[in-house]
Protein backbone atom coordinates (compact mmCIF):
# COMPACT_ATOMS: atom_id res chain seq x y z
CA UNK A 1 0.00 0.00 0.00
CA UNK A 2 1.34 3.46 -0.90
CA UNK A 3 -0.05 6.74 0.33
CA UNK A 4 0.70 10.21 1.58
CA UNK A 5 1.21 11.05 5.23
CA UNK A 6 -1.21 13.22 7.21
CA UNK A 7 0.45 14.13 10.48
CA UNK A 8 -1.21 14.69 13.85
CA UNK A 9 0.08 15.18 17.38
CA UNK A 10 -0.27 13.27 20.66
CA UNK A 11 -3.58 12.31 22.31
CA UNK A 12 -5.81 12.58 19.24
CA UNK A 13 -9.10 11.56 20.84
CA UNK A 14 -12.21 9.91 19.47
CA UNK A 15 -14.17 13.18 19.60
CA UNK A 16 -11.68 14.66 17.15
CA UNK A 17 -11.74 11.58 14.89
CA UNK A 18 -15.51 10.98 15.07
CA UNK A 19 -17.45 13.84 16.71
CA UNK A 20 -20.28 12.63 18.97
CA UNK A 21 -22.90 14.71 17.15
CA UNK A 22 -22.76 12.29 14.18
CA UNK A 23 -23.00 9.10 16.26
CA UNK A 24 -26.62 8.37 15.38
CA UNK A 25 -26.05 9.18 11.70
CA UNK A 26 -25.33 6.86 8.78
CA UNK A 27 -21.86 5.52 8.21
CA UNK A 28 -21.58 7.51 4.97
CA UNK A 29 -22.44 10.71 6.80
CA UNK A 30 -19.95 9.89 9.56
CA UNK A 31 -17.15 9.38 7.03
CA UNK A 32 -17.73 12.89 5.66
CA UNK A 33 -16.72 14.25 9.07
CA UNK A 34 -13.63 12.11 9.74
CA UNK A 35 -11.00 13.97 11.80
CA UNK A 36 -13.24 17.05 11.78
CA UNK A 37 -12.46 17.83 15.39
CA UNK A 38 -8.79 18.40 14.65
CA UNK A 39 -8.69 19.25 10.92
CA UNK A 40 -11.92 20.39 9.25
CA UNK A 41 -10.38 20.02 5.75
CA UNK A 42 -9.24 16.45 6.26
CA UNK A 43 -11.91 14.73 4.17
CA UNK A 44 -11.32 17.19 1.31
CA UNK A 45 -7.60 16.41 1.27
CA UNK A 46 -7.42 12.70 1.96
CA UNK A 47 -6.89 10.32 -1.00
CA UNK A 48 -7.56 6.58 -0.98
CA UNK A 49 -4.51 4.81 0.46
CA UNK A 50 -3.31 7.75 2.54
CA UNK A 51 -1.76 7.14 5.92
CA UNK A 52 -2.34 8.86 9.27
CA UNK A 53 0.79 9.36 11.34
CA UNK A 54 0.33 10.43 14.95
CA UNK A 55 2.07 10.63 18.29
CA UNK A 56 1.24 8.93 21.55
CA UNK A 57 -2.16 7.60 22.67
CA UNK A 58 -3.96 7.83 19.32
CA UNK A 59 -7.68 7.14 19.64
CA UNK A 60 -7.99 7.89 23.35
CA UNK A 61 -11.44 8.77 24.59
CA UNK A 62 -14.62 6.84 24.00
CA UNK A 63 -15.37 3.32 22.81
CA UNK A 64 -17.08 4.47 19.62
CA UNK A 65 -15.89 2.81 16.38
CA UNK A 66 -13.70 5.75 15.40
CA UNK A 67 -11.73 3.62 12.95
CA UNK A 68 -14.77 3.38 10.66
CA UNK A 69 -14.89 6.97 9.39
CA UNK A 70 -11.14 6.68 8.75
CA UNK A 71 -11.58 3.46 6.77
CA UNK A 72 -14.50 4.92 4.85
CA UNK A 73 -12.59 8.11 4.07
CA UNK A 74 -9.89 5.99 2.42
CA UNK A 75 -7.24 5.89 5.14
CA UNK A 76 -5.24 2.70 4.54
CA UNK A 77 -3.40 2.58 7.84
CA UNK A 78 -2.59 4.49 11.02
CA UNK A 79 0.98 4.68 12.29
CA UNK A 80 1.42 6.03 15.82
CA UNK A 81 3.86 6.01 18.69
CA UNK A 82 1.14 4.29 20.74
CA UNK A 83 -2.58 3.60 20.62
CA UNK A 84 -5.35 3.71 23.18
CA UNK A 85 -6.49 0.18 23.93
CA UNK A 86 -10.09 0.58 22.76
CA UNK A 87 -9.12 2.11 19.45
CA UNK A 88 -6.54 -0.64 18.95
CA UNK A 89 -9.16 -3.34 19.61
CA UNK A 90 -11.68 -1.71 17.30
CA UNK A 91 -9.20 -1.35 14.47
CA UNK A 92 -7.94 -4.94 14.80
CA UNK A 93 -11.48 -6.31 15.00
CA UNK A 94 -12.65 -4.54 11.89
CA UNK A 95 -9.53 -4.69 9.77
CA UNK A 96 -8.04 -1.18 9.81
CA UNK A 97 -4.26 -1.81 9.83
CA UNK A 98 -2.50 -0.02 12.67
CA UNK A 99 1.23 0.02 13.35
CA UNK A 100 2.97 0.95 16.60
CA UNK A 101 6.23 2.60 15.58
CA UNK A 102 7.53 5.52 17.66
CA UNK A 103 10.44 6.17 15.28
CA UNK A 104 8.30 6.49 12.18
CA UNK A 105 5.79 8.52 14.17
CA UNK A 106 8.56 10.95 15.05
CA UNK A 107 10.31 11.22 11.71
CA UNK A 108 7.69 11.03 8.95
CA UNK A 109 6.62 14.45 7.63
CA UNK A 110 3.31 15.79 6.35
CA UNK A 111 2.94 14.88 2.68
CA UNK A 112 5.69 12.18 2.65
CA UNK A 113 4.93 9.29 0.34
CA UNK A 114 5.22 5.99 2.23
CA UNK A 115 4.97 2.31 1.31
CA UNK A 116 3.53 0.13 4.05
CA UNK A 117 3.67 -3.65 4.36
CA UNK A 118 0.95 -4.22 6.95
CA UNK A 119 1.59 -7.90 7.52
CA UNK A 120 5.33 -7.47 8.07
CA UNK A 121 5.00 -4.11 9.82
CA UNK A 122 7.48 -2.47 7.45
CA UNK A 123 7.22 1.20 6.56
CA UNK A 124 9.39 2.66 3.78
CA UNK A 125 9.84 6.32 2.98
CA UNK A 126 11.51 6.51 -0.49
CA UNK A 127 12.20 10.26 -0.23
CA UNK A 128 14.44 9.84 2.80
CA UNK A 129 15.40 6.25 2.16
CA UNK A 130 14.38 5.37 5.71
CA UNK A 131 12.88 1.96 6.53
CA UNK A 132 11.05 1.40 9.80
CA UNK A 133 10.02 -1.83 11.52
CA UNK A 134 6.82 -1.50 13.57
CA UNK A 135 6.27 -3.51 16.77
CA UNK A 136 4.63 -6.88 16.14
CA UNK A 137 1.35 -7.74 17.88
CA UNK A 138 0.95 -11.06 19.73
CA UNK A 139 0.15 -14.03 17.49
CA UNK A 140 -3.52 -14.19 18.52
CA UNK A 141 -4.07 -10.63 17.31
CA UNK A 142 -2.19 -11.26 14.07
CA UNK A 143 -4.47 -14.25 13.53
CA UNK A 144 -7.58 -12.08 13.84
CA UNK A 145 -6.04 -9.57 11.44
CA UNK A 146 -5.17 -12.32 8.94
CA UNK A 147 -8.63 -13.84 9.02
CA UNK A 148 -10.13 -10.47 8.14
CA UNK A 149 -11.22 -9.40 11.60
CA UNK A 150 -13.29 -10.77 14.42
CA UNK A 151 -16.55 -11.25 12.53
CA UNK A 152 -15.38 -14.20 10.37
CA UNK A 153 -14.15 -15.86 13.57
CA UNK A 154 -17.54 -15.45 15.24
CA UNK A 155 -19.33 -16.75 12.14
CA UNK A 156 -17.38 -20.00 12.38
CA UNK A 157 -18.49 -20.40 15.99
CA UNK A 158 -22.12 -19.80 15.07
CA UNK A 159 -21.89 -22.34 12.24
CA UNK A 160 -20.63 -24.92 14.74
CA UNK A 161 -23.50 -24.07 17.07
CA UNK A 162 -26.06 -24.54 14.28
CA UNK A 163 -24.45 -27.84 13.25
CA UNK A 164 -24.39 -29.23 16.78
CA UNK A 165 -28.05 -28.40 17.17
CA UNK A 166 -28.95 -30.12 13.90
CA UNK A 167 -27.05 -33.25 14.88
CA UNK A 168 -29.03 -33.57 18.11
Amino acid sequence: MTGRVHRFGDNVDTDMIMPARYLGHSRAEQSRHAMEGVDSDFTAKVQPGDVIVAGRNFGCGSARPAHRPLQDAGVSCVIAASFANLFMRNAVNEGLPILRCPEAARELREGDLVEVDHEGGIIRCPATGRVYQAEMFPEFIRQIIRSGGLIPYAREKVKQRVQEREEK
Binding site: G24, A63, R64, N85, N90, N93, P138, E139, I151, V162
Partner: protein, 426 residues
Protein backbone atom coordinates in the same frame (compact mmCIF):
# COMPACT_ATOMS: atom_id res chain seq x y z
CA UNK B 1 5.23 -15.32 41.39
CA UNK B 2 1.96 -13.93 42.69
CA UNK B 3 -0.86 -12.46 40.69
CA UNK B 4 -2.84 -9.25 40.87
CA UNK B 5 -6.59 -9.38 41.40
CA UNK B 6 -7.04 -8.56 37.70
CA UNK B 7 -4.79 -11.41 36.58
CA UNK B 8 -6.68 -13.82 38.85
CA UNK B 9 -10.03 -12.79 37.40
CA UNK B 10 -8.76 -13.08 33.84
CA UNK B 11 -7.16 -16.46 34.49
CA UNK B 12 -10.38 -17.77 36.03
CA UNK B 13 -12.39 -16.66 33.01
CA UNK B 14 -10.09 -18.23 30.44
CA UNK B 15 -9.72 -21.63 32.08
CA UNK B 16 -6.13 -21.12 33.17
CA UNK B 17 -4.22 -21.25 36.42
CA UNK B 18 -2.22 -18.16 35.60
CA UNK B 19 -1.87 -15.42 33.01
CA UNK B 20 0.95 -13.01 32.24
CA UNK B 21 0.91 -9.47 30.90
CA UNK B 22 1.19 -9.38 27.11
CA UNK B 23 -0.56 -12.73 26.59
CA UNK B 24 -3.83 -12.85 24.71
CA UNK B 25 -6.79 -14.78 26.05
CA UNK B 26 -10.21 -15.62 24.73
CA UNK B 27 -12.43 -15.38 27.78
CA UNK B 28 -15.99 -15.97 28.87
CA UNK B 29 -17.67 -13.27 30.92
CA UNK B 30 -20.40 -13.01 33.54
CA UNK B 31 -22.49 -10.17 32.21
CA UNK B 32 -22.64 -7.73 29.31
CA UNK B 33 -24.52 -4.43 29.35
CA UNK B 34 -25.52 -2.37 26.33
CA UNK B 35 -27.07 1.07 26.03
CA UNK B 36 -28.98 2.90 23.30
CA UNK B 37 -26.02 3.97 21.21
CA UNK B 38 -23.65 1.05 21.81
CA UNK B 39 -26.37 -1.37 20.76
CA UNK B 40 -26.90 0.66 17.62
CA UNK B 41 -23.20 0.56 16.79
CA UNK B 42 -23.12 -3.22 17.27
CA UNK B 43 -26.10 -3.70 14.93
CA UNK B 44 -24.09 -3.99 11.73
CA UNK B 45 -21.38 -6.40 13.01
CA UNK B 46 -24.05 -8.45 14.85
CA UNK B 47 -26.02 -8.87 11.64
CA UNK B 48 -22.84 -9.70 9.70
CA UNK B 49 -22.10 -12.56 12.09
CA UNK B 50 -25.44 -14.24 11.38
CA UNK B 51 -25.83 -13.20 7.75
CA UNK B 52 -27.04 -16.21 5.74
CA UNK B 53 -26.54 -18.70 8.59
CA UNK B 54 -30.23 -19.28 9.14
CA UNK B 55 -30.33 -18.11 12.73
CA UNK B 56 -29.76 -15.03 14.88
CA UNK B 57 -29.68 -15.24 18.63
CA UNK B 58 -27.75 -13.83 21.55
CA UNK B 59 -25.62 -16.41 23.35
CA UNK B 60 -27.56 -16.16 26.63
CA UNK B 61 -30.37 -13.61 27.13
CA UNK B 62 -29.99 -13.89 30.92
CA UNK B 63 -26.50 -12.40 30.70
CA UNK B 64 -27.46 -9.36 28.68
CA UNK B 65 -28.70 -6.06 30.13
CA UNK B 66 -30.09 -3.23 28.00
CA UNK B 67 -30.39 0.33 29.29
CA UNK B 68 -30.93 3.83 27.91
CA UNK B 69 -28.58 6.67 28.81
CA UNK B 70 -27.03 8.70 26.00
CA UNK B 71 -30.27 10.04 24.58
CA UNK B 72 -32.84 9.18 27.22
CA UNK B 73 -35.67 9.89 26.57
CA UNK B 74 -35.15 10.37 22.84
CA UNK B 75 -34.53 14.04 21.95
CA UNK B 76 -34.78 13.65 18.17
CA UNK B 77 -36.75 11.62 15.64
CA UNK B 78 -33.52 9.86 14.66
CA UNK B 79 -32.84 8.83 18.27
CA UNK B 80 -36.45 7.69 18.68
CA UNK B 81 -36.24 5.57 15.55
CA UNK B 82 -32.95 4.04 16.65
CA UNK B 83 -34.29 3.28 20.12
CA UNK B 84 -37.43 1.73 18.69
CA UNK B 85 -35.19 -0.68 16.81
CA UNK B 86 -33.21 -1.34 20.01
CA UNK B 87 -36.32 -2.27 21.97
CA UNK B 88 -37.50 -4.59 19.23
CA UNK B 89 -34.06 -6.19 19.11
CA UNK B 90 -34.12 -6.79 22.87
CA UNK B 91 -37.60 -8.33 22.73
CA UNK B 92 -36.77 -10.50 19.77
CA UNK B 93 -33.79 -11.91 21.66
CA UNK B 94 -35.76 -12.53 24.83
CA UNK B 95 -33.78 -10.10 26.98
CA UNK B 96 -35.70 -9.69 30.20
CA UNK B 97 -33.29 -7.18 31.71
CA UNK B 98 -34.29 -4.33 29.45
CA UNK B 99 -34.40 -1.25 31.63
CA UNK B 100 -37.04 0.80 29.86
CA UNK B 101 -37.15 4.60 30.24
CA UNK B 102 -38.41 5.16 33.76
CA UNK B 103 -36.38 2.24 35.12
CA UNK B 104 -33.19 3.19 33.32
CA UNK B 105 -29.93 4.95 34.06
CA UNK B 106 -26.34 5.32 32.97
CA UNK B 107 -24.97 1.85 32.25
CA UNK B 108 -22.03 2.34 34.64
CA UNK B 109 -24.48 2.98 37.47
CA UNK B 110 -27.38 0.57 36.92
CA UNK B 111 -24.76 -2.15 36.43
CA UNK B 112 -23.83 -2.11 40.12
CA UNK B 113 -26.96 -0.55 41.66
CA UNK B 114 -29.00 -3.46 40.37
CA UNK B 115 -26.43 -6.12 41.14
CA UNK B 116 -25.59 -7.11 37.58
CA UNK B 117 -21.85 -6.80 38.24
CA UNK B 118 -20.27 -8.53 41.25
CA UNK B 119 -16.83 -8.98 42.79
CA UNK B 120 -14.66 -11.39 40.81
CA UNK B 121 -16.68 -10.92 37.62
CA UNK B 122 -15.41 -10.31 34.14
CA UNK B 123 -17.86 -7.66 33.04
CA UNK B 124 -18.10 -6.35 29.49
CA UNK B 125 -19.68 -3.27 27.96
CA UNK B 126 -19.19 -0.93 25.06
CA UNK B 127 -18.36 2.23 26.91
CA UNK B 128 -14.98 3.55 27.86
CA UNK B 129 -16.11 4.16 31.44
CA UNK B 130 -16.98 0.53 32.04
CA UNK B 131 -13.92 0.75 34.30
CA UNK B 132 -16.23 2.37 36.89
CA UNK B 133 -17.39 -1.08 37.98
CA UNK B 134 -13.87 -2.05 39.00
CA UNK B 135 -14.87 -0.45 42.30
CA UNK B 136 -16.72 -3.63 43.28
CA UNK B 137 -13.63 -5.75 42.60
CA UNK B 138 -14.63 -6.90 39.12
CA UNK B 139 -12.55 -6.71 35.96
CA UNK B 140 -14.82 -4.39 34.03
CA UNK B 141 -13.66 -3.78 30.51
CA UNK B 142 -14.93 -1.54 27.75
CA UNK B 143 -14.83 -3.01 24.27
CA UNK B 144 -15.75 -1.68 20.83
CA UNK B 145 -18.67 -2.41 18.55
CA UNK B 146 -17.33 -5.55 16.87
CA UNK B 147 -16.20 -7.11 20.16
CA UNK B 148 -19.56 -6.23 21.68
CA UNK B 149 -21.38 -7.89 18.77
CA UNK B 150 -19.21 -10.99 19.12
CA UNK B 151 -19.73 -11.01 22.89
CA UNK B 152 -23.51 -10.86 22.38
CA UNK B 153 -23.43 -13.55 19.70
CA UNK B 154 -21.06 -16.14 21.13
CA UNK B 155 -20.29 -15.07 24.70
CA UNK B 156 -16.57 -14.64 24.17
CA UNK B 157 -14.23 -11.69 24.42
CA UNK B 158 -10.53 -11.53 23.56
CA UNK B 159 -8.22 -9.55 25.78
CA UNK B 160 -4.54 -8.74 25.90
CA UNK B 161 -3.51 -9.20 29.54
CA UNK B 162 -2.55 -5.71 30.73
CA UNK B 163 0.17 -4.82 33.18
CA UNK B 164 -1.05 -3.38 36.47
CA UNK B 165 0.17 -0.27 38.27
CA UNK B 166 -0.76 0.20 41.90
CA UNK B 167 -1.81 3.61 43.23
CA UNK B 168 -1.52 3.81 46.98
CA UNK B 169 -2.98 6.79 48.87
CA UNK B 170 -2.25 7.65 52.48
CA UNK B 171 -3.73 10.23 54.80
CA UNK B 172 -7.18 11.49 55.74
CA UNK B 173 -8.86 13.76 53.22
CA UNK B 174 -9.54 17.37 54.23
CA UNK B 175 -13.16 18.54 54.50
CA UNK B 176 -14.72 19.23 51.06
CA UNK B 177 -12.07 17.13 49.37
CA UNK B 178 -13.34 13.94 47.78
CA UNK B 179 -12.51 11.04 45.48
CA UNK B 180 -12.89 13.36 42.48
CA UNK B 181 -10.07 15.55 43.77
CA UNK B 182 -7.94 12.45 44.35
CA UNK B 183 -8.31 11.21 40.80
CA UNK B 184 -7.91 14.68 39.25
CA UNK B 185 -4.74 15.15 41.27
CA UNK B 186 -3.49 11.76 40.09
CA UNK B 187 -4.24 12.65 36.46
CA UNK B 188 -2.31 15.88 36.85
CA UNK B 189 0.64 13.84 38.07
CA UNK B 190 0.65 10.97 35.57
CA UNK B 191 -1.12 12.67 32.60
CA UNK B 192 -3.55 11.21 30.07
CA UNK B 193 -1.26 8.39 29.04
CA UNK B 194 0.23 7.74 32.48
CA UNK B 195 -1.40 4.32 32.74
CA UNK B 196 -1.77 3.66 29.02
CA UNK B 197 -3.17 0.18 28.42
CA UNK B 198 -2.56 -0.79 32.06
CA UNK B 199 -4.84 -1.57 34.99
CA UNK B 200 -4.92 1.07 37.72
CA UNK B 201 -5.28 -0.73 41.04
CA UNK B 202 -6.29 1.75 43.74
CA UNK B 203 -5.30 0.99 47.31
CA UNK B 204 -4.23 2.45 50.64
CA UNK B 205 -5.98 3.74 53.72
CA UNK B 206 -7.50 6.75 51.92
CA UNK B 207 -9.21 4.50 49.41
CA UNK B 208 -10.39 2.15 52.17
CA UNK B 209 -12.01 5.14 53.87
CA UNK B 210 -13.91 6.18 50.73
CA UNK B 211 -17.61 5.36 50.44
CA UNK B 212 -18.63 3.18 47.49
CA UNK B 213 -19.76 6.30 45.60
CA UNK B 214 -16.22 7.71 45.87
CA UNK B 215 -14.69 4.43 44.82
CA UNK B 216 -16.81 4.46 41.66
CA UNK B 217 -15.62 8.01 40.95
CA UNK B 218 -12.00 6.94 41.36
CA UNK B 219 -12.26 3.94 39.04
CA UNK B 220 -14.39 5.90 36.57
CA UNK B 221 -11.56 8.23 35.62
CA UNK B 222 -8.91 5.53 35.26
CA UNK B 223 -9.83 5.74 31.59
CA UNK B 224 -8.62 9.35 31.49
CA UNK B 225 -5.11 8.08 32.27
CA UNK B 226 -5.37 5.69 29.31
CA UNK B 227 -5.98 2.64 31.52
CA UNK B 228 -7.78 -0.47 30.34
CA UNK B 229 -9.65 -0.39 33.62
CA UNK B 230 -9.45 0.52 37.29
CA UNK B 231 -9.98 -1.85 40.19
CA UNK B 232 -10.24 -1.86 43.98
CA UNK B 233 -9.88 -5.04 46.02
CA UNK B 234 -13.20 -5.77 47.74
CA UNK B 235 -13.56 -5.31 51.50
CA UNK B 236 -16.38 -5.28 54.07
CA UNK B 237 -17.85 -2.11 52.56
CA UNK B 238 -17.95 -3.68 49.09
CA UNK B 239 -19.62 -6.73 50.55
CA UNK B 240 -22.24 -4.60 52.32
CA UNK B 241 -22.99 -2.80 49.05
CA UNK B 242 -23.11 -5.87 46.90
CA UNK B 243 -24.86 -8.44 49.10
CA UNK B 244 -28.41 -7.03 49.04
CA UNK B 245 -28.16 -6.46 45.29
CA UNK B 246 -26.46 -9.67 44.17
CA UNK B 247 -28.42 -11.87 41.80
CA UNK B 248 -25.96 -14.75 41.94
CA UNK B 249 -22.94 -16.03 43.86
CA UNK B 250 -19.65 -14.16 43.65
CA UNK B 251 -15.97 -14.55 44.52
CA UNK B 252 -13.97 -12.08 46.53
CA UNK B 253 -10.39 -11.96 45.31
CA UNK B 254 -7.38 -9.82 46.15
CA UNK B 255 -3.86 -9.28 44.87
CA UNK B 256 -1.02 -11.44 46.20
CA UNK B 257 1.63 -9.66 48.23
CA UNK B 258 4.24 -10.73 45.67
CA UNK B 259 2.15 -9.74 42.65
CA UNK B 260 4.06 -8.01 39.87
CA UNK B 261 3.36 -4.35 39.19
CA UNK B 262 4.56 -2.16 36.36
CA UNK B 263 4.87 0.67 38.88
CA UNK B 264 3.78 1.55 42.38
CA UNK B 265 2.78 5.17 42.90
CA UNK B 266 2.40 6.43 46.45
CA UNK B 267 0.73 9.67 47.43
CA UNK B 268 0.25 11.35 50.77
CA UNK B 269 -3.00 13.23 50.28
CA UNK B 270 -3.56 14.54 53.80
CA UNK B 271 -2.92 18.14 52.70
CA UNK B 272 -4.62 17.88 49.29
CA UNK B 273 -7.14 20.62 48.46
CA UNK B 274 -9.89 20.63 45.80
CA UNK B 275 -8.57 20.16 42.25
CA UNK B 276 -9.86 21.36 38.89
CA UNK B 277 -9.04 20.06 35.40
CA UNK B 278 -8.94 23.07 33.09
CA UNK B 279 -9.75 23.10 29.37
CA UNK B 280 -9.05 21.14 27.25
CA UNK B 281 -7.76 18.02 28.92
CA UNK B 282 -8.54 16.04 32.08
CA UNK B 283 -4.84 16.17 32.99
CA UNK B 284 -4.61 19.96 32.85
CA UNK B 285 -5.11 19.99 36.59
CA UNK B 286 -4.66 22.92 38.98
CA UNK B 287 -5.49 23.48 42.62
CA UNK B 288 -8.85 25.28 42.82
CA UNK B 289 -7.18 28.44 44.23
CA UNK B 290 -5.34 28.89 40.93
CA UNK B 291 -8.55 29.19 38.92
CA UNK B 292 -11.06 30.50 41.48
CA UNK B 293 -12.72 33.58 40.03
CA UNK B 294 -12.99 32.43 36.41
CA UNK B 295 -16.44 33.58 35.22
CA UNK B 296 -18.87 30.80 34.24
CA UNK B 297 -22.21 30.34 32.49
CA UNK B 298 -23.27 26.87 33.58
CA UNK B 299 -22.68 24.22 36.22
CA UNK B 300 -23.43 20.58 35.50
CA UNK B 301 -23.68 18.08 38.34
CA UNK B 302 -24.13 14.67 36.79
CA UNK B 303 -22.52 11.91 34.65
CA UNK B 304 -21.26 8.45 35.52
CA UNK B 305 -18.43 10.11 37.47
CA UNK B 306 -20.45 12.07 40.01
CA UNK B 307 -24.22 11.70 39.95
CA UNK B 308 -24.80 9.35 42.85
CA UNK B 309 -26.89 10.22 45.91
CA UNK B 310 -23.77 11.11 47.93
CA UNK B 311 -22.76 13.59 45.22
CA UNK B 312 -26.14 15.32 45.24
CA UNK B 313 -26.13 15.38 49.05
CA UNK B 314 -22.79 17.18 49.08
CA UNK B 315 -24.11 19.73 46.59
CA UNK B 316 -27.10 20.44 48.82
CA UNK B 317 -24.88 20.73 51.85
CA UNK B 318 -22.65 23.28 50.14
CA UNK B 319 -25.55 25.29 48.71
CA UNK B 320 -27.36 25.33 52.04
CA UNK B 321 -30.08 27.97 52.06
CA UNK B 322 -28.33 30.00 49.34
CA UNK B 323 -29.51 30.42 45.77
CA UNK B 324 -27.84 29.67 42.47
CA UNK B 325 -26.22 32.88 41.17
CA UNK B 326 -28.56 34.85 38.87
CA UNK B 327 -26.18 34.69 35.90
CA UNK B 328 -25.58 30.97 36.14
CA UNK B 329 -27.70 27.92 35.32
CA UNK B 330 -27.27 24.81 37.46
CA UNK B 331 -28.21 21.58 35.72
CA UNK B 332 -28.44 18.52 37.92
CA UNK B 333 -28.97 15.10 36.39
CA UNK B 334 -29.19 12.05 38.64
CA UNK B 335 -27.43 9.20 36.84
CA UNK B 336 -30.22 6.71 37.31
CA UNK B 337 -33.86 6.39 38.33
CA UNK B 338 -32.65 4.73 41.52
CA UNK B 339 -30.61 7.82 42.48
CA UNK B 340 -33.46 10.11 41.45
CA UNK B 341 -35.92 8.34 43.73
CA UNK B 342 -33.52 8.22 46.69
CA UNK B 343 -32.73 11.91 46.27
CA UNK B 344 -36.43 12.75 46.01
CA UNK B 345 -37.26 10.79 49.17
CA UNK B 346 -34.55 12.59 51.11
CA UNK B 347 -35.66 16.01 49.94
CA UNK B 348 -32.39 16.55 48.12
CA UNK B 349 -34.12 17.25 44.81
CA UNK B 350 -36.54 19.66 46.44
CA UNK B 351 -33.73 21.68 47.96
CA UNK B 352 -31.83 21.80 44.68
CA UNK B 353 -34.90 23.06 42.83
CA UNK B 354 -35.58 25.61 45.58
CA UNK B 355 -32.05 26.89 45.12
CA UNK B 356 -32.72 27.42 41.42
CA UNK B 357 -31.39 24.24 39.84
CA UNK B 358 -33.10 22.43 37.01
CA UNK B 359 -33.29 18.65 37.11
CA UNK B 360 -32.90 16.51 33.99
CA UNK B 361 -34.17 13.01 33.33
CA UNK B 362 -31.63 10.39 34.44
CA UNK B 363 -28.93 9.67 31.90
CA UNK B 364 -25.74 11.20 30.54
CA UNK B 365 -27.22 14.66 29.98
CA UNK B 366 -24.83 17.11 28.31
CA UNK B 367 -21.71 15.05 29.12
CA UNK B 368 -21.42 13.59 25.59
CA UNK B 369 -22.75 16.79 24.00
CA UNK B 370 -26.02 15.27 22.86
CA UNK B 371 -28.79 16.95 24.85
CA UNK B 372 -30.09 18.58 28.06
CA UNK B 373 -27.69 21.43 28.55
CA UNK B 374 -25.09 21.42 25.78
CA UNK B 375 -22.88 24.50 25.64
CA UNK B 376 -22.93 27.35 23.12
CA UNK B 377 -20.01 29.12 21.51
CA UNK B 378 -17.42 30.29 24.03
CA UNK B 379 -19.53 29.33 27.06
CA UNK B 380 -17.85 28.17 30.22
CA UNK B 381 -19.04 25.35 32.43
CA UNK B 382 -17.96 23.72 35.67
CA UNK B 383 -18.82 20.04 35.31
CA UNK B 384 -18.56 16.99 37.55
CA UNK B 385 -18.10 14.74 34.49
CA UNK B 386 -14.85 13.21 33.28
CA UNK B 387 -13.89 14.76 29.94
CA UNK B 388 -13.31 18.30 28.73
CA UNK B 389 -11.89 17.83 25.24
CA UNK B 390 -12.85 20.53 22.70
CA UNK B 391 -16.46 20.06 21.62
CA UNK B 392 -17.17 17.33 24.15
CA UNK B 393 -20.12 19.10 25.77
CA UNK B 394 -21.24 21.25 22.86
CA UNK B 395 -19.55 23.96 20.81
CA UNK B 396 -15.87 23.34 20.24
CA UNK B 397 -14.92 26.69 21.74
CA UNK B 398 -16.90 26.02 24.92
CA UNK B 399 -14.67 25.55 27.96
CA UNK B 400 -15.29 22.84 30.53
CA UNK B 401 -13.67 22.77 33.97
CA UNK B 402 -13.89 19.36 35.64
CA UNK B 403 -14.39 19.41 39.39
CA UNK B 404 -16.00 17.70 42.36
CA UNK B 405 -19.67 18.14 43.30
CA UNK B 406 -18.62 20.41 46.20
CA UNK B 407 -16.60 22.70 43.93
CA UNK B 408 -19.37 22.67 41.32
CA UNK B 409 -22.01 23.60 43.90
CA UNK B 410 -19.92 26.43 45.37
CA UNK B 411 -19.32 27.74 41.83
CA UNK B 412 -23.05 27.68 41.07
CA UNK B 413 -23.76 29.86 44.10
CA UNK B 414 -20.93 32.33 43.60
CA UNK B 415 -21.36 32.54 39.82
CA UNK B 416 -17.69 31.89 39.18
CA UNK B 417 -15.27 29.07 39.70
CA UNK B 418 -15.09 28.79 43.46
CA UNK B 419 -13.36 26.92 46.24
CA UNK B 420 -15.97 25.18 48.41
CA UNK B 421 -13.82 26.00 51.44
CA UNK B 422 -14.37 29.74 50.77
CA UNK B 423 -18.04 29.28 51.49
CA UNK B 424 -17.93 26.62 54.12
CA UNK B 425 -15.01 27.78 56.22
CA UNK B 426 -12.03 25.46 56.47
Amino acid sequence: MGMTISEKILAAHSGRDAVEPGECINATFDMVIVQDLSLLMAKEPFEQIFDGLGESSVFDPEKVVVTFEHEAPAPTVLAATNQKWGRQWARRHGITNMLEIGRHGIQHMVSNEQGFVLPGDLFVANGSHTCTDGAVGAFAVGVGAASLAVALAIGEVWLEIPETSRFVYRGTLQPWVSAKDLILYTLGQIRTDGALNQVMEFAGETVRALPMSGRFTLCNMAKEAGAVTGIIEPDALTEAYVRPRARRAHRTLSSDSDARYRAIHEYDVSALGPQVACPFSPDNVKPVEAVAGVPIDQVFIGSCTNSRVDDLRVAVEVIGSRKVHRDVRLIVIPGSQYVYLEALREGVIERLVEAGATIGAPGCGPCPGLHTGVLGEGERCVSTSNRNFPGRMGHRTAEVYLASPATAAASAVLGRLADPREMMGR
